[in-house]
């Protein structure tokens, strides 16, 4: 852009001046080129969607706009004037607010303290807190964003935490709001409400950038949408001119199957039989309040629910690393829920494999190489053993084969796990667990942070295992995934099973109400009711979602 046109733009602060204009942004993290020469314009009063595979550079780009990272090259223009945004303070001053993918909240602070942090009015806290409390009330009224100001962040659910993040931005009077994957942690009802709020903000003239993986949301709410791939901006289109299929192809660069292809299930004997399972956490809070479930051979039981309603504890107790009470039988024989035979290795010996919810915190040792991770949890297996030593050669050969079969890229057993992309990390875990040929596979969030292409592959593997007659317990917060993969769906809320449904007999709306703890799914329900219910279901703050 030439000097002249720049001046021209500044002169005419007309509605056709973009609220945000990024020009030629580039950013490298060491050897990784996260953003390459990206330009983008967003008009005021619109919602602009950004989609792209994980690691495509979406968060990086937005973090640059928010002053969290500094771009190596490029310019930022806000409302027609060029801005230097060296830090977030400058971004806030320019009217930009951002809700990060991983919330930036101080967990043992109250909601109010989190809101004023960095936006205090003076050296003393008291007046700031009082003012924030008043403002919060107003905002709650205006947008229906209710929060409990004096609750500790670690005690409220993730949905509520996100609300705090949005309030933080509004409290700072942001005109431009960036939301990075906001709906990953919400129930459909909560997501709907969020979109209503976004709609209100748009109608007030605020500009919104929405990053999401869910094509449905893009189609539903955005005005324009950009697609990113491998650090580059590959396309920007008007939403009404495109289709989900086209967007998916733009993202991955090839045709993708958006539906899972699977034959009807042929369930066999009961493999897993859970009766009155209870779990109490370290703080003495009852996380599972008596669960009864059965999983049969050759079927996928999907567990739906908002994060933090006991699904994690269910997987942990079945996986052997949390204690519980009640009765759990595997192929008719009872499992030790506490004590000596309640650990990951005993479970594996009994034929339970487990793809954990958080591959980086649990499923993998990020500093271990791929081959070491392939033995993780199975390192006592005879085939990996040479006396007291580990048979590293055998493990490496085995890893190479598995990587080949699961199309892990690059297929290099000596690369550290942290150097694989998210999707490939997940494939390593999956290969390790599925190839064991377990009787029961526990799977938590199998496709979280995985791009569309890899999702397709992972879903196929799970279905294939089912078709071999294995029992599969699937936990996911993605309703779409639950609906697509499960042969039976149980919904969990606040440590209980609210009900079971068959996928063909239910829909997202009904499941969404169950997830909010409302069993009478036919009566009309207000958002407030859903919300009130969810507020009581404690979110687990220690899990990053």
């Amino acid at each position: 852009m030439t000097q002249e046109t720049t001046l021209e733009r500044q002169a005419t602060a007309a509605p056709d001046v973009p609220a945000i204009e990024l020009k030629g942004i580039s950013k490298a993290f060491g050897p990784v080129q996260a953003n390459k020469d990206i330009s983008i314009r967003v008009m005021p009063g619109t919602i602009h969607g950004i989609i792209g595979e994980n690691g495509a550079g979406k968060s990086t780009l937005m973090s640059i706009l928010y002053g969290f990272y500094k771009a190596d090259k490029g310019e930022i223009w806000i409302n027609g004037s060029k801005k230097e945004i060296p830090d977030s303070q400058a971004a806030i001053a320019a009217g930009i607010g951002m809700v990060f993918q991983h919330f930036k909240l101080v967990e043992n602070f109250t909601v109010l303290e989190n809101i004023i942090l960095g936006a205090e009015d003076g050296r003393l806290l008291k007046p700031s807190l009082a003012k924030a409390r008043r403002t919060l009330l107003e905002l709650a009224e205006d947008y229906g964003l209710n929060v409990e100001p004096d609750a500790l962040v670690q005690d409220i659910g993730v949905g509520m935490q996100q609300r705090v993040e949005i309030l933080k931005a509004l409290y700072r009077q942001a005109d431009i709001l960036i939301l990075d994957e906001p709906t990953g942690v919400l129930t459909p009802a909560e997501a709907d409400q969020l979109f209503r709020i976004l709609g209100r903000l748009r109608s007030e003239g605020k500009t919104i950038i929405l990053i999401t993986h869910k094509l449905r949301e893009i189609m539903e709410i955005t005005d324009t949408v950009s697609v990113m791939r491998r650090g580059e901006m590959t396309a920007t289109v008007r939403t009404q001119d495109t289709s989900p299929q086209e967007l998916a192809e733009l993202m991955v660069g090839r045709k993708v199957l958006l539906r899972v292809d699977k034959k009807p299930a042929t369930p066999g004997d009961v493999v897993l039989d859970i009766k009155n399972l209870k779990v109490v956490d370290e703080k003495g809070v009852e996380r599972l309040r008596g669960i009864d479930l059965q999983v049969r051979a050759g079927e996928v039981l999907g567990i739906a629910g908002v994060a933090g309603n006991g699904q994690s504890e269910l997987l942990e107790v079945l996986g052997g690393y949390a204690d519980g009470t009640g009765e759990v039988r595997l192929n008719g024989q009872s499992l030790d829920l506490t004590g000596r035979h309640s650990d990951g290795q005993s479970r594996r010996a009994r034929g339970i494999a487990h793809v954990p919810e958080d591959r980086q915190r649990e499923g993998l040792i990020m500093d271990y190489q791929a081959w070491e991770n392939t033995a993780f949890g199975y390192h006592h297996d005879p085939e990996y053993r040479a006396g007291v030593l580990m048979n590293n050669a055998a493990i490496r050969n085995d890893t190479a084969e598995k990587m080949e079969r699961f199309d892990v890229r690059p297929p290099n057993p000596k690369l550290a796990a942290k150097n694989f992309s998210g999707g490939n990390q997940q494939k390593i875990v999956l290969a390790r667990e599925i190839e064991r040929n377990p009787d029961l596979l526990l799977v938590g969030q199998p496709t979280r942070g995985v791009d569309i292409g890899a999702i397709e592959f992972i879903h196929q593997q799970i279905v294939a295992l089912r078709d071999q007659g294995k029992a599969i317990l699937l936990v996911s917060v993605e309703l779409e995934e639950i609906l697509a993969l499960s042969d039976r769906i149980a919904v969990m809320f606040d440590g209980r099973v609210m009900g079971e449904r068959l996928p063909e007999d239910t829909d997202e709306k009904e499941l969404g109400l169950l997830m909010a703890g409302i069993t009478d799914t036919n009566a009309p329900h207000s958002v407030a009711e859903v919300e009130a219910n969810l507020a009581h279901a404690g979110g687990d703050p220690h899990k990053e979602v």
Partner: protein
């Protein structure tokens, strides 16, 4: 993807850091009115210029290998064992008891017995803080510090009131019997026709220490236990998922750590002093922390770092012998070495990484772009 080639990470960075430490040390020497070049020469000839110097350098290095390995194995389980000092003191007690009260027929048997006792005593002294950490959540850093003080009091009691021969002024045990005297490097190398100084205290314990380095390497990188220890150290949550018991790993890692620290006593107590004196450890437990950190917790790194610190000690002793440089200067030099190689290493690494990255970018132009015009 690593930015720097491995050789740069393991050789270049420590080397430059050491150089910086040396430069600052030289400035300090200059400031107290001595000649740094002469001082360095004196240190090098004194520590490495003769088999005699080597004998002392290796003697000190042996101590640091044991304590360095002790800290290193605990680090692998992400445990910070500051208690090497106390564990080594207790190890000394074990050695003294073994040597004084068991009539050993030959030094080799005595060595085995004393090593076992040293390891046992050191292990016990580490196991208590480990247990408190695993079961009671007591911070291991604090408990191991406290256990250093308690060990000192205990040793004082034992030496003054129990093991000291009647009427002896020295709060020390009697001299160990002849049969427990360990062969020095002179004795060991003589059959091979190698002339090694008779006076230097380096002894067969050096071989034990070297074997411990190899053994620990095997343990950490080749056994299932080592695999579990490292896994736990990298990620406790993942370890739990895999069925690795935090309590077990904490206990086992600390017991091995304490045993290694205790084993230092076969070198200083059995090999050198041939009796147990108060304060026989002389801070080797703390030097072990620096050694482990500099050696990046790798047994080979610990081996090399221990020799570096042995060099500093012996070189420092030579300085003290032949110049009027106060001994505190040696402490300052150690501090600078620890500071630059341990805490300020990123000061060296960051610019180096930038350099390597720039070199790499220059070498590999982006494939999808046209080759850069050679004009500019």
């Amino acid at each position: 993807m690593d930015v720097m080639p491995k050789w740069a990470e393991v050789i270049l960075v420590p080397l430059i850091s050491l150089l910086l430490a040396a430069i600052i040390s030289a400035l300090v020497i200059l400031a107290i009115g001595e000649d740094p070049i002469a001082a360095v020469k004196l240190m090098i000839t004194g520590a490495l210029g003769s088999t005699y110097g080597w004998g002392y350098t290796l003697y000190y290095a042996t101590n640091f290998m044991f304590t360095g390995l002790a800290v290193a194995i605990a680090f692998h389980a992400r445990l910070f064992n500051i208690g090497g000092e106390g564990q080594a003191m207790l190890g000394g007690l074990g050695v003294a008891l073994a040597c004084l009260y068991i009539p050993w027929p030959h030094w080799s048997l005595a060595l085995v017995g004393a090593t076992a006792m040293a390891a046992l005593f050191g292990a016990i002294w580490a196991a208590i803080p480990a247990w408190l950490q695993a079961k009671r959540g007591s911070h291991i850093v604090i408990t191991t510090i406290m256990f250093n003080f308690i060990a000192a009091a205990l040793l004082n009691y034992v030496l003054v009131n129990l093991l000291r021969p009647k009427g002896q002024m020295d709060p020390a045990t009697a001299r160990f019997p002849e049969a427990t005297q360990l062969p020095t490097l002179h004795d060991l190398l003589a059959p091979l026709g190698i002339e090694f100084s008779k006076a230097a205290p380096a002894n067969v314990s050096l071989l034990v220490a070297a074997a411990a380095c190899v053994g620990l390497w095997v343990l950490i990188w080749r056994t299932r236990l080592g695999y579990e220890i490292r896994a736990y150290g990298h990620s406790e949550s993942a370890a739990k998922y895999a069925g690795i018991s935090p309590v077990k790993i904490t206990m086992v890692a600390m017991i091995i750590s304490g045993a290694l620290a205790g084993m230092m006593a076969i070198n200083n107590v059995m090999g050198e002093a041939e009796r147990l004196v108060l304060n026989s450890t002389e801070g080797a437990g703390f030097i072990g922390i620096a050694v482990a950190l500099m050696g990046r917790s790798h047994p080979l790194g610990v081996f090399i770092a221990a020799i570096l610190f042995g060099f500093l000690y012996q070189g420092g002793a030579e300085l003290a012998l032949w110049t009027s440089i106060p001994r505190e200067l040696i402490v300052v030099i150690q501090a600078l070495v620890i500071l630059f190689t341990g805490a300020l290493d990123n000061m060296v690494r960051m610019p180096l990484e930038k350099m390597f990255l720039a070199v790499r970018r220059a070498r590999a132009p982006k494939p999808e772009r046209k080759p850069v015009e050679p004009a500019e």
